[in-house]
C-alpha cells in the first residue's frame, strides 16, 4: 500500500529534478531548474522551509545528503559545471566548498559509504567522473577519471561498504580493509564498475553491457548481509536491468530484464532493505517492483501522484511461500 502522508509545495519556479530525504527521513532537499536548492523540515507531516540555497548558475540536477556523522552536509550538482557542498553551521546553511573541475554539466553526485570518510563521486557530461575526498581543514582532494563515459556520465552510485558475505562486522578497533567500488552509467550505453586500487588510483573493473541507449541511472543496492551484489540500471531505451553478482571473487555479473517500458526510464531507487525498487519513467509514472519467489520481478504498485496500492497477488504469493 502506498499512501501519501505529506505533500510538500516546494514553491520552486521551474522543474524539480531531484528530491532526497536525509538519513533520518526528517528533512527534504529539493533542487530545480530555477537554480535553487531548498531544504524543508518535513517532520510530522509538516513542511518548514529551512534553507533556500542559491549559488548555482544553472539548473540543479541532483542533491545528496552526507551521513550525519559528518554533520549536516548536502552536495548539489548543476548544469553550470559545478558541484557545491553545502553545510549547516549553527543553524545556518552555507556554501562550504565549490568544485569546478568539470567542463560540462555535472549530472550526478553520490556520497561514499560513511565508513570511508567523506568522499563524493561526481559524474559529468564531459565524460569524466571526479572523486572529492575531504582531507581536513576545508581541503578537498580531487581525483579524476577522464573519459569514463564518452559524451557523458549520467549517474554514479557507490557499492555498500559491507563486504558481501560477511554477516558479522570486523572486530572493532581494527579498521576493515574495505574495497571501494562504485558504478556509473553514461551516454555510451554502458554501466561501468570502478574500483580503487591499492595505490589509490581508480580503475575500470567491469563493463556491463545490456542497454542500447543512454544509461540514465544506476543504483547499487544496499547490503542486507547476503553474498549477492545487486545493481539496477535504467536507460533511455526504456529498459531496466537488474545486475547481480553472486561471487565476488570471479566478479561476473549477469543481467535480468526487469521490464521494458515504453518511454525513457529516468531514475531507479532501492528501498533501504533492498527488496523494492522504485522506477520513475518518462511517462511521469512511478512503479514499485519486487522480486518474487521464482526470481521474477513483479510490479507491485503504480504510484501515481504518490497514490497507489500494492497488488494483492504478490502478497499472497509471499504467504504461500511460507
Amino acid at each position: 500500500m502506498v499512501s501519501v502522508i505529506n505533500t510538500v509545495d516546494t514553491s520552486h519556479e521551474d522543474m524539480i529534478h531531484d528530491a532526497q530525504m536525509d538519513y533520518y527521513g526528517t528533512r527534504l532537499a529539493t533542487c530545480s531548474s530555477d537554480r535553487s536548492v531548498k531544504i524543508f523540515d518535513v517532520r510530522n507531516g509538516g513542511q518548514i522551509l529551512i534553507a533556500d540555497l542559491r549559488g548555482h548558475e544553472g539548473p540543479v540536477w541532483q542533491v545528496a545528503w552526507a551521513h550525519p556523522m559528518y554533520g549536516n552536509i548536502l552536495a548539489s550538482c548543476s548544469y553550470d559545471r559545478k558541484v557545491i557542498i553545502w553545510r549547516e553551521e549553527n543553524g545556518t546553511w552555507e556554501k562550504s566548498h565549490e568544485h569546478a573541475g568539470h567542463d560540462s554539466s555535472v549530472n550526478s553526485v553520490c556520497w561514499a559509504p560513511h565508513d570511508y570518510g567523506l568522499i563524493l563521486a561526481c559524474g559529468s557530461s564531459d565524460g569524466a567522473i571526479s572523486l572529492l575526498t575531504y582531507t581536513g581543514e576545508g581541503q578537498w582532494e580531487v581525483k579524476k577519471i577522464n573519459n569514463a563515459h564518452t559524451i557523458g556520465c549520467n549517474a554514479v552510485s557507490w557499492a555498500p561498504a559491507v563486504v558481501p558475505g560477511s554477516l558479522i562486522d570486523h572486530p572493532s578497533g581494527q579498521k576493515p580493509n574495505y574495497i571501494k567500488r562504485f558504478a556509473s552509467g553514461g551516454c555510451d550505453n554502458l554501466i561501468k564498475l570502478w574500483k580503487e586500487e591499492e595505490d589509490g588510483q581508480w580503475k575500470e573493473e567491469q563493463k556491463l553491457e545490456a542497454h542500447s541507449d543512454w544509461v540514465r541511472d544506476v543504483a547499487w543496492a544496499p547490503s542486507i548481509g547476503l553474498p549477492t551484489s545487486t545493481i539496477a540500471g535504467c536507460s533511455q531505451d526504456g529498459r531496466v536491468f537488474i545486475w547481480t553478482c553472486d561471487d565476488a571473487s570471479s566478479n561476473t555479473w549477469s543481467p535480468k530484464l526487469l521490464h521494458k517500458f515504453n518511454d525513457v526510464v529516468w531514475h531507479v531507487s532501492w528501498s533501504i532493505t533492498a527488496n523494492i525498487l522504485a522506477v520513475s519513467g518518462g511517462d511521469n509514472k512511478v512503479t514499485l517492483w519486487k522480486e518474487s519467489v521464482d526470481g521474477q520481478w513483479v510490479c507491485i504498485s503504480d504510484v501515481n501522484k504518490g497514490q497507489g496500492s500494492v497488488s494483492a497477488s504478490v502478497t499472497e504469493g509471499q504467504q504461500n511461500e511460507q
Binding site: H17, Q20, L28, M69, G117, I168, W266, I272, L288
Partner: protein, 1098 residues
C-alpha cells in the same frame, strides 16, 4: 566537442533512432569534387563507437557505386522496434534517379544491395524526406517543380501532391510535417515555400516574404507545433532563418540573424525543439533557439564551410557536419574537453614511432614536441541552456522508514513553446507498506509481550503450527512459562512422570507381597560355604571382605547393600566394580545417573537418542549445569550432518535458554532473508528471551553479535514498513554494538522527535567536524550509549506503571521535563514496558556488568527499575527476582526412587558445602536439620541397623535428600550469596494499616501447615512463608502501588471469610492489571498458598 571524423566529401545520413548500434552512412557528394578530383563514387557505412576514444570512425562497409549523390536519407521502413532490420537508405542521384539500398546488405558485404530505383525525376534529386507517421511514404523534389510521393510498398508509381507550382523551379527542400501526417512543405531557391495537403491534393498555402532575397537552402517543421516551420536562406545578402507560423503567414514570426553569410543547411532537433542547428558560408556552425532567436552554442570548427548538417536521431547530443574540405565530423554539443582525445592521438603517434631509437641509429629521438595549441587546456563550453533530454522530469527515491519521495513535472499541453506555465512544483512523501502479514504478526508478538500473555501466545502458535517441528518448538517455548517446566519438557519428549510412577507403584505392590516378614527369626550360619564366609566377615565387621565375597559370588544386590553399610568409600568402589562387571544395555545410563556424570551421557550418547539424553538432563542436571548440558547436546546435534537433527538442536537451545545459539542454529537451517521467516525466528527469540528472564539467573541483557544482527535486521524491516515505534521496541537497547546503536538513533530521530537545539543531530556520532584525514567512524560510536539513554528515556516514562511510580519517587527520574514526551504527539505506541530491558533506564548497569561479575545477578535486574532506585544495594537486592528466577526448580520433584536409598549418606558433598557455607550466617530451618553426611566407619552396628530396622525413610532424611538431589532448587544458593550483605539491615516496621496483610497471610500458612500431611506441601508452604517476606518488605518500603495494596487487602478479607476462590479471582485480577515486575516476587507464592488453603479447606 569533436568526437569523430572521417575524411570524405560526402552526403551523410544517420541510422534511424531505432537502430542500435548507431551507423552513419556517407555517399559521395555530387556537388563537390574531392581534392583528388576522383570521379569514383561510393556508399559507405560507419559505426559510431563512443567507447572507443579515438577520433577514427569504424568503417563497416563500402559499396562502390556508379552514382554520386545530392541527397541521402535513412528511413526506418520495415524496421521493427528492436532494429533488427536496418531500414532503407534512400539516395537522390544526379540524373533524376532515386535509388533504394538495403543497408543490412551493404554491411553484410552483399553485391546486390539495391532494392529498387526509379529515374522518373528530371534533373538532380536534391530533396528527400520520409514521413515519420507512415515510414513507407517518401517525398522527393527535383527540377521543374517536380514533387513525387513514393510508396515504398509500391515503388513503381509515385503520386503527386497536387498540380505543379508555376513558374517551374527547382525544389531544393522538402519536409513532412511533424504533427500532421498528410501535410508536406517544399521550398525552392527562389525563396518560396509551399505547403501541401495530401488529402486535398493541392497546395494550401504559400509562404514568401516578398523580399526576393530568400534563397531557400533549408526547410524544417517545428517538432512540436504543427503550424510552425523555419526557412533558411543561402543568400549572403539575407543570411537569415525565418520562423513562420502558418496562421500568420503574412510575415515571419521571427527572424534569426546570427550568420554573417548565407546559410547552407539547417537541422532541427527532434529531441529538443529549442535546438536548431545551422551552418553557413561564414564557416560557423550555430545552435540557436528558434523560439527565441538566442544562439545557444557555437561549435568550434575549422574555417571550412559545411554544406550538410544532421542530428543523430538516436543520440540527441550528437551531430555530424560535412565540410567542403572533404571531412565529415561528429560532434557532441555537451561540451567537454578535447584534451583527452588529443592526448590519445599523441600517444598513438608515440607508440607508433617509439621514443627510443626506432632506426637503430644509436641515438634516441628527441621527445615529441606537442604543438603549442593543443597543449593549452581547451575547454569547450556546453550549450547555454540545458537540452531537454538531460532535464529529469520525474523521480522517486526511497528514504528511511519506508518512505517514498516522488515528484513529477506534468507538462501542460504546450502553447507556443511556453510549457512551464502553471506547473505545480510539489513533492509527495508516501508511506510504502508491502509486508502486511509481517506487520500483523509483529504486532501480535508485541501485544503478547506487552500483556505478558506468553502462554496464550505460544498456545496460539502451537495451534497454528503447520509442521511438527514448529509445534515442538512452540510447545517447548510455552513450557518455559508454566509451572514445573522440567516435567513438562519431559512430557514433550514423551516421558510422563505419572506414567512411570504408576508402573512403579504397581510393581512395588507386587513386590511387597513377596517380602519376608521382618518379624520372624533367622538363622546365622557360619559354615564354610560362601554364605558362611560372608557371615563371618560381617560378624567381624569386615565389610570389605564381605562385599568382595558377594561380588565374587555374583551376588550384586547383597554386595551393594553391604557396601552401603560399609561407608561411602566402599560403596563407591563397589559401584565401580559393579559397573565394570555389568554388561547390561542401560549400564552406561545407570552409571551416569549414579555417578552424576550427565556430561558423559550428553557427550557420548547416540544422537538418535538425543531425546533420551535431553530427558536425562532435564531430570537430573542441576540448574547450574543444566544449560551447559543442553547446550552441549545442541551443539552435537548441530554439528551432525543430518539436517533433521540440526533443527532439533533448536529444542536443546530453547531448553538451555541459549538465545544466541538458537539464532545461529536457526539461521543455519532457514533462509532468514525473507521478512516472514525472519519473523518466525524473532517470535521465538523474543519469547525465549522473556522466558529466560523469568526463569533463569542468566544475564539476559547481553546481546550476542548474531542476535544483534538479526534483531537489527528485524528492526530495519519494521522500519522499512513504516513501523518505527515497533522497530524501536524490538531493538535490544543495552548493547554497545555500533549497528544497533546507530539504528536506534536513526529510529528515534525518524520518529520526528524534536531535538533540543540545532546542533544536537550530530550527537550520536562523535561530532566529526569535517574530519581530518581519514575519519575513523568506529571511534564515533563509543559516545552513543550514554547520550541515548538520556534522550530516549521518555519512552520508558510514559509506560503506565512507570508513571504511577514516578509520582512517588520523582527524584529517581532523569531530569527530563515531563512535557518533552514527544511520542504522544506522534500518535504511535510507545514501546511497551516489557520490551525495555533495563539497560536504557539504568545507564550505569551496562558499565558495571563486566567489572563485577560476582554481583551480576544483583545488579542486573531483568525489569525496568526506574521506579525504585532508592531500593539500592541495601534492599535485599535479589529478593524481588530470586523466587521467580528459580521458578523452574521450585515445583520440581527430583526422582527419588532410584537414588535415595543409596544416595542418602553420600549426598553431594560439594553442593552441600556450597549451600551450607554461604548460608551459615543466616541459617534456615530447612538446612539446619541437615544430618552429618558421613557415617563413621567404626560404628558398624549403628550403620547396619538403620536400613534393617526401618523399612521406610526416616523423615528427617527425606528433606536433605530432596535438597541434595540433582535438580533441586539451587536457587537458594544464589539467595544466600546475595543475602550476605543484607544481614545487618534493620527493617522498618510494616505500616499499621498493612500489618493485617502479614498476620492474615502468616496465619493462613500456619493453618495450612498444620493440616497438610505430605512433606512436599509442607515444604511448599515453608517456602511460601519465606517468600512472602518480599511482600512485607515492599509494604515496609511503601513501594507498592495503591491498586495492588488495596487488592491485597481484598484478598486478606476473603481469606478471613475463608472464601479462597474469591481470593484467587482477586489474585488473578491484580496480576493481570499490575506491572509484572512489581508483583512477581510474591504474587505467585500467594497463589500457591491460596490454592493450598482451598485444597486443604482450612
Amino acid at each position: 566537442m569533436k568526437l569523430k571524423e572521417v575524411d570524405r566529401t560526402a552526403m551523410q545520413a544517420w541510422s534511424p533512432a531505432q537502430n542500435h548500434p548507431i551507423y552513419l552512412a556517407t555517399g559521395t557528394s555530387a556537388q563537390q569534387l574531392d581534392a583528388t578530383f576522383s570521379t569514383n563514387a561510393s556508399l559507405e557505412i560507419f559505426e559510431l563507437d563512443l567507447s572507443d576514444p579515438s577520433l577514427d570512425m569504424k568503417s563497416c562497409a563500402t559499396f562502390s557505386s556508379s552514382h554520386r549523390y545530392h541527397k541521402l536519407i535513412w528511413g526506418p521502413y520495415k524496421m521493427d522496434s528492436k532494429g533488427d532490420v536496418s531500414g532503407v537508405l534512400i539516395a537522390g542521384g544526379e540524373n533524376g534517379n532515386i535509388i533504394l539500398y538495403d543497408p543490412s546488405k551493404i554491411i553484410a558485404g552483399d553485391k546486390e544491395v539495391v532494392i529498387a530505383q526509379n529515374d522518373k525525376h528530371t534533373g538532380p534529386v536534391r530533396a528527400l524526406d520520409v514521413n515519420i507517421f507512415q515510414t513507407n511514404l517518401v517525398a522527393s523534389g527535383a527540377n521543374e517543380s517536380e514533387i513525387y510521393i513514393w510508396d515504398l510498398n509500391n515503388f513503381a508509381t509515385p503520386m503527386t501532391p497536387g498540380a505543379k507550382t508555376q513558374p517551374p523551379e527547382d525544389i531544393s527542400c522538402i519536409a513532412w510535417n511533424r504533427q500532421v501526417q498528410h501535410i508536406l512543405a517544399s521550398a525552392s531557391p527562389s525563396g518560396r515555400a509551399t505547403v501541401w495537403d495530401l488529402r486535398k491534393n493541392e497546395p494550401i498555402i504559400k509562404v514568401s516574404d516578398h523580399s526576393n532575397r530568400m534563397h531557400c537552402s533549408g526547410l524544417a517543421w517545428h517538432p512540436d507545433v504543427a503550424t510552425q516551420m523555419v526557412l533558411a536562406s543561402e543568400d549572403d545578402r539575407l543570411p537569415v532563418i525565418q520562423m513562420w507560423d502558418l496562421r500568420f503567414a503574412s510575415s515571419p514570426l521571427r527572424v534569426l540573424e546570427n550568420h554573417a553569410r548565407g546559410i547552407l543547411a539547417i537541422a532541427w532537433s527532434m529531441a529538443d525543439p529549442e535546438l536548431l542547428l545551422s551552418c553557413g558560408k561564414d564557416a560557423k556552425i550555430l545552435c540557436s533557439n528558434p523560439n527565441t532567436g538566442e544562439v545557444l552554442y557555437e561549435l568550434p570548427t575549422n574555417t571550412q564551410w559545411c554544406f550538410d548538417i544532421q542530428w543523430c536521431p538516436r543520440n540527441p547530443a550528437v551531430l555530424s557536419a560535412a565540410s567542403f574540405d572533404g571531412r565529415i565530423s561528429v560532434y557532441s554539443i555537451m561540451g567537454g574537453s578535447t584534451d583527452g582525445l588529443r592526448q590519445k592521438q599523441v600517444d598513438k603517434l608515440s607508440s607508433s614511432f617509439g621514443n627510443l631509437d626506432p632506426f637503430g641509429t644509436g641515438q634516441p629521438l628527441p621527445p615529441l614536441q606537442i604543438p603549442q595549441q593543443t597543449a593549452q587546456h581547451s575547454i569547450v563550453l556546453p550549450l547555454k541552456k540545458p537540452p531537454k533530454w538531460i532535464r529529469r522530469p520525474v523521480g522517486a527515491s526511497f528514504s528511511f522508514g519506508g518512505k517514498l519521495v516522488t515528484f513529477e513535472n506534468v507538462r501542460m499541453p504546450s502553447h507556443q513553446g511556453a510549457e512551464q506555465q502553471q506547473q505545480q512544483h510539489h513533492v509527495f512523501i508516501s508511506q510504502v507498506v508491502t509486508e502486511k502479514e509481517f506487520l500483523s504478526r509483529s504486532d501480535q508478538l508485541q501485544q503478547a509481550v506487552q500483556s505478558q500473555g506468553f502462554i496464550n501466545y505460544c498456545q496460539k502458535k502451537i495451534d497454528a503450527s503447520q509442521t511438527e517441528f514448529e509445534k515442538n518448538v512452540w510447545s517447548f517455548l510455552k513450557v518455559n512459562f508454566e509451572d514445573d517446566s522440567r516435567g513438562k519438557y519431559l512430557e514433550l519428549l514423551g516421558y510422563r512422570k505419572e506414567d512411570l510412577g504408576k508402573k512403579h507403584i504397581k510393581e512395588e505392590k507386587e513386590e511387597s507381597e513377596f517380602l519376608p516378614s521382618s518379624g520372624g527369626t533367622f538363622n546365622i550360619s557360619v559354615s564354610g560355604d560362601i554364605d558362611g564366609l560372608i557371615t563371618q566377615a560381617l560378624l567381624t565387621g569386615n565389610f570389605e571382605s564381605a562385599v568382595d565375597l558377594c561380588l565374587h559370588d555374583n551376588r550384586m544386590a547383597d554386595a551393594i547393600i553391604l557396601a552401603i553399610a560399609g561407608g561411602q568409600e566402599l560403596l563407591a568402589r563397589t559401584q565401580k566394580k559393579y559397573f565394570a562387571k555389568s554388561q547390561s544395555k542401560i549400564t552406561r545410563l545407570i552409571t551416569a545417573v549414579v555417578m552424576k556424570n550427565w556430561k558423559e551421557i550428553v557427550e557420548s550418547c547416540d544422537l538418535k537418542n538425543w531425546r533420551e539424553a535431553l530427558a536425562a538432563v532435564l531430570t537430573y542436571a542441576k540448574p547450574d549445569e543444566f544449560s551447559a548440558l543442553c547446550d552441549l547436546l545442541g551443539t552435537r546435534l548441530e554439528n551432525e550432518g543430518d539436517s533433521l537433527l540440526q533443527t532439533q538442536a533448536c529444542l536443546c537451545y530453547i531448553c538451555a535458554g541459549n538465545v544466541e545459539k538458537l539464532v545461529a542454529c536457526w539461521t543455519k537451517a532457514q533462509d532468514g532473508s525473507h521478512p516472514l521467516s525472519l519473523q518466525d525466528l524473532i517470535e521465538k527469540v523474543v519469547i525465549l528471551r522473556k522466558a529466560v528472564q523469568l526463569t533463569q539467573a542468566m544475564d539476559t541483557s547481553t546481546v550476542g553479535v548474531l542476535l544483534a544482527a538479526k534483531m537489527s535486521q528485524y528492526a530495519n524491516l519494521l522500519a522499512a514498513q513504516g513501523s518505527i515505534a515497533a522497530a524501536l521496541a524490538f531493538l535490544p537497547d543495552n548493547t554497545n554494538q555500533p549497528n544497533i546503536m546507530q539504528l536506534r538513533d536513526r529510529l528515534c530521530r525518524a520518529q520526528g522527535e524534536p531535538v533540543a537545539g540545532h546542533e544536537s543531530p550530530k550527537i550520536p556520532y562523535e561530532k566529526q567536524q569535517l574530519p581530518k584525514g581519514r575519519p575513523g567512524p568506529v571511534a564515533g560510536h563509543h559516545q552513543m550509549p550514554r547520550v541515548q539513554t538520556q534522550q530516549y528515556y521518555p519512552h520508558v516514562r510514559i509506560a503506565p506503571t512507570v508513571t504511577t511510580w514516578s509520582n512517588k519517587t520523582p527524584t529517581a527520574l532523569p531530569s527530563h521535563p515531563p512535557a518533552a514526551s514527544p511520542s504522544d504527539t506522534q500518535g504511535e505506541n510507545p514501546p511497551p514496558p516489557g520490551f525495555i530491558m533495563h539497560g536504557n533506564v539504568n545507564p550505569n548497569a551496562a558499565g558495571q556488568l563486566p567489572t563485577s561479575p560476582g554481583h551480576m545477578h544483583t545488579q542486573v535486574p531483568p525489569y525496568p527499575q526506574p521506579q525504585r532506585p532508592q531500593n539500592g544495594w541495601n534492599d535485599p537486592p535479589a529478593l524481588n527476582r530470586v523466587p521467580k528466577k528459580k521458578k523452574m526448580p521450585e515445583n520440581f520433584m527430583p526422582p527419588v526412587p532410584i537414588t535415595s536409598p543409596i544416595m542418602n549418606p553420600l549426598g553431594d558433598p560439594q553442593s552441600q558445602m556450597l549451600q551450607q557455607q554461604p548460608s551459615a550466617p543466616v541459617p534456615l530451618s530447612s538446612q539446619s536439620s541437615f544430618p552429618q553426611p558421613h557415617l563413621p566407619g567404626g560404628q558398624p552396628f549403628h550403620g547396619v541397623q538403620q536400613p534393617l530396622g526401618q523399612t521406610g525413610m526416616p523423615p528427617s532424611f527425606s528433606k536433605p535428600n530432596i535438597e541434595g538431589a540433582p535438580g533441586a532448587p539451587i536457587g537458594n544458593t544464589f539467595q544466600h550469596v546475595q543475602s550476605l550483605p543484607t544481614k545487618k539491615i534493620t527493617k522498618k516496621p510494616i505500616p499499621d494499616e498493612h500489618l493485617i496483610l502479614k498476620t492474615t497471610f502468616e496465619d493462613l500458612i500456619q493453618r495450612c501447615l498444620s493440616s497438610a500431611t505430605d512433606p512436599q506441601t509442607k515444604r511448599k508452604l515453608d517456602d511460601a512463608s519465606k517468600r512472602l517476606e518480599f511482600l512485607y518488605d515492599k509494604l515496609r518500603e511503601q513501594t507498592l502501588s495503591p491498586t495492588i495494596t488495596s487488592g491485597l487487602h481484598n484478598i486478606a478479607r476473603s481469606i478471613e471469610t475463608r472464601n479462597y476462590s474469591e481470593g484467587l479471582t482477586m489474585h488473578t485480577h491484580i496480576v493481570s492489571t499490575s506491572n509484572f515486575s512489581e508483583t512477581s516476587a510474591f504474587m505467585p507464592v500467594l497463589k500457591v498458598v491460596l490454592t493450598q488453603a482451598n485444597k486443604l479447606g482450612v
